[in-house]
């Protein structure tokens, strides 16, 4: 749903929240809750947990909307970061690691399919990111995927990919350095 009009709608509505406009928060919710619920559910794996996180996310948006600066960030970037951070915090707090399937270091993970809305919203940035991710080694890309989509820690990733913790750290750090340099080109 990263249509320019939606982006504008979300940014305008976020701008009205600091004045105490509940309808504005509801507009943000209507336009973004399906994406953010998808993100939280992917990390947490349980609907009731993801629902609790979604509630925390929008209460946070209500309180912190004044911090959002449309000249510096896209509203979806800001909201997705809040949702991922809340979901990961909850995952860490639960202290139960979810049973995670092993990742073959060299396995090519098929893209889970970009939804019609997602394709509209983020197509350009997404294409750029994908171009740079394609430039990484398969094991680096797979490690980043496990962290981004499943909220895995270094230790969980090391276990899933059967490598020592130090190796995993250097894979991820190396991958992030390459990613930044590629995206800045």
């Amino acid at each position: 749903m990263d249509l320019d009009a939606n982006r504008t709608l979300i940014a305008v509505a976020l701008g009205r929240i600091p004045g105490g406009d509940r309808a504005a928060l509801q507009t943000v919710y209507r336009l973004t809750s399906a994406k953010l619920f998808g993100v939280a559910l992917r990390i947490l794996g349980e609907r009731s947990e993801a629902e609790d996180v979604l509630q925390e996310v929008y209460v946070t948006v209500w309180r912190k909307a004044a911090d959002f600066d449309p000249s510096r960030a896209s509203p979806m970037t800001w909201l997705i970061a809040i949702a991922r951070n809340r979901a990961i915090d909850r995952l860490r707090a639960s202290r139960q690691s979810r049973a995670m399937a092993p990742i073959e270091a060299a396995a090519e993970v098929a893209d889970s399919g970009i939804g019609a809305d997602g394709a509209l919203e983020m197509s350009q940035d997404n294409a750029r990111l994908h171009g740079c991710l394609d430039g990484l080694a398969a094991h680096e890309r797979n490690a980043l995927r496990g962290a981004f989509f499943d909220g895995n820690t270094y230790e969980e990733l090391a276990a899933r990919m059967s490598v020592p913790l130090g190796t995993m750290k250097s894979w991820i750090r190396r991958a992030m350095i390459k990613l930044k340099s590629c995206l800045e080109q």
């Binding site: 990263d2 009009a5 939606n6 504008t8 709608l9 305008v12 928060l25 509801q26 507009t27 919710y29 209507r30 336009l31 809750s33 399906a34 994406k35 619920f37 998808g38 993100v39 629902e51 979604l54 509630q55 209460v59 209500w62 960030a73 979806m76 997705i80 970061a81 991922r84 951070n85 915090d89 860490r92 707090a93 889970s112 399919g113 939804g115 019609a116 809305d117 997602g118 919203e121 983020m122 997404n126 990111l129 991710l133 962290a147 981004f148 989509f149 909220g151 820690t153 230790e155 990733l157 130090g166 750290k169 991820i172 750090r173 190396r174 992030m176 350095i177 990613l179 340099s181 995206l183």
Partner: protein, 237 residues
Amino acid sequence: MTDATDHSGKLPEDLPEAELLAAEYALGVLDGAARAAAAQRVAREPAFAAMVAAWEARLAPWAAEIADIAPPPQLWERIAAALPAPIPPRASLWQSLAFWRGLTFVTGALAAACLAAAIYLGTLTQPQPLLATIEGGGHSHFVATVDARRGTVAVVPAAFAADASRVPELWLIPADGRPRPLGLLRADRTVTITIPAALVPHARRDAVLAVSLEPPGGSPTGAPTGPVIASGKLTNL
């Protein structure tokens, strides 16, 4: 426990340690203690927070791969109930029922007069038709023409693909950003909609027309409940 500062292996072109920690925090690989420490730095150090935000922006497009999943319908009620109460109005006059009754009477008459004036002015200042190409995903779905004098909008389907379970609904989004429902569209023929009188003055240049997908019969709430798939600004012909 994972110590974020302890990493083995030489890196190709080193980034400053703070930048790597920001990347690790944004990606989400830090475990409980390291993550909490990084979160504190986000709260206290604007420069570190800016690095984290930059990494979040780099990674966020990846979320487009995650399918949208609608949360249960009652979740909004839960959230609304969890919001801190609004600050009560200060002046006691504003809480007086008699005052409000009197005001309602006066404002009712005023509003009617304003509305009539607005419609009159709207038709005076916008005599020529307005056009919007309603686009999304790289192609135009509908083309709309607004006849402000008659207060109608005619919408021609361009490349809109019908969906058996959902219907396209047209919205007018004026400068305040709040979508107002105009009516349901058809994929197979032109639909002419009479714009509600109160909205006619808003159907002006630079207002946005948007199309969302709604359950049959249209949005039950008076606001878009499905995805906005296309939109376009009204411009002079």
